[in-house]
Subunit: 206 residues, 2 copies
């Protein structure tokens, strides 16, 4: 009779639910990572980047230090992973908003409104933002965001709905900066007004 | 005969050029402070806020630690003083731009162009900016900047040159955020285009 643990179900009966088992493990890993990311961000927001250690993160997240180091080499990489995950979710959301709208003007408006909402709800984590924005991955993600906006601007310019005296590249830059004002706004109505004003700036010159 | 040093000229001959002497001392203090501020910012930009000490700043600025502590209690207050001085100079410059322009529309344009130029030339000191922006003095200075822009927007709205469906308060916020895109622009021409686009956003809705 085998001394193998009953918990090694995939090893004893390899044909038995391997996919489900993998999914369970993957969900577990994901849950641990989520806990680590949110804990790290909360600690850094409260105490500042310089004073947070890996040991604190492990303790607050309720896992061992060794487990934490299996996922991340240092505090910085935890913050970057957190930011990466958020940006990926935002890009996905903006792409969906774009794909659900009908026509170039509508796509432009949907993307700008989507971005303003994301900015409106995002915590204004000054120190974390300043730190992660130096990272190469984050610069790439920002570039993807910029590309997405530039494309809808160019598409709207091609049908005469956006001015052509300024490049879609520069107009995308203008949009992203102008809409970052949403972070300080108090109401949904104010966010809509900001989007309307920003869109007016894009209209063909009279 | 007095043993007083000939350098204590103000004490020996109090009627002798006291103003000039004060000015010389003031200029000296100012020069020392300038050296300290620029040194601190250069060190923090290169090595990060967490790793810069008062001793390093004193050494690099070429003064004694005791002298440095006469001016500033810690690294943070050096950075805040540096930022305060820059913001005061910027506000002064914007007020001058406003006062040299003739008429509400021209004043608005002059202030927005002035702000875009300041942003264009400012070093993008992410960590320092994130740090100082939490300080109360800096928040006040930002508020003064915001007030200055809000006033020229309101004045232009009163003569019909700016939309009235959005408050001057929110429009000033929009302007300052949109124009912060100037920091990433490569040419003066691009800065002018950004100001033109931002101004279009302010125009009364068609």
């Amino acid at each position: 009779m085998s001394s193998q643990s009953v918990y090694d179900i995939g090893a004893v009966y390899p044909w038995c639910m391997p996919k489900l088992w993998d999914e369970t493990m993957e969900a577990h890993r994901r849950a641990v990572q989520d806990a680590v990311l949110e804990t790290a961000v909360a600690l850094v927001t409260e105490h500042g980047l310089a004073s947070v250690t890996m040991s604190q993160i492990a303790k607050e997240a309720g896992i061992g230090r060794a487990t934490l180091y299996k996922y991340f080499p240092d505090v910085q990489s935890v913050l970057i992973a957190w930011h990466d995950r958020h940006v990926a979710a935002h890009l996905e959301r903006l792409a969906q908003a774009r794909d659900h709208a009908d026509g170039p003007s509508q796509r432009l408006e949907a993307v700008l409104l989507g971005y303003a909402h994301i900015t409106h709800k995002r915590p204004q984590g000054g120190e974390i933002a300043a730190f992660v924005h130096r990272d190469r991955h984050v610069v790439q993600a920002q570039q993807q965001l910029h590309d997405l906006v530039r494309e809808v601007v160019a598409e709207a310019a091609a049908v005469g709905a956006v001015r052509e005296d300024v490049s879609p590249e520069e107009l995308a830059d203008y949009c992203l900066h102008a809409l970052s004002a949403a972070g300080g706004l108090r109401s949904e109505e104010a966010v809509h007004r900001l989007v309307a004003v920003t869109l007016s700036g894009l209209r063909p010159a009279r």
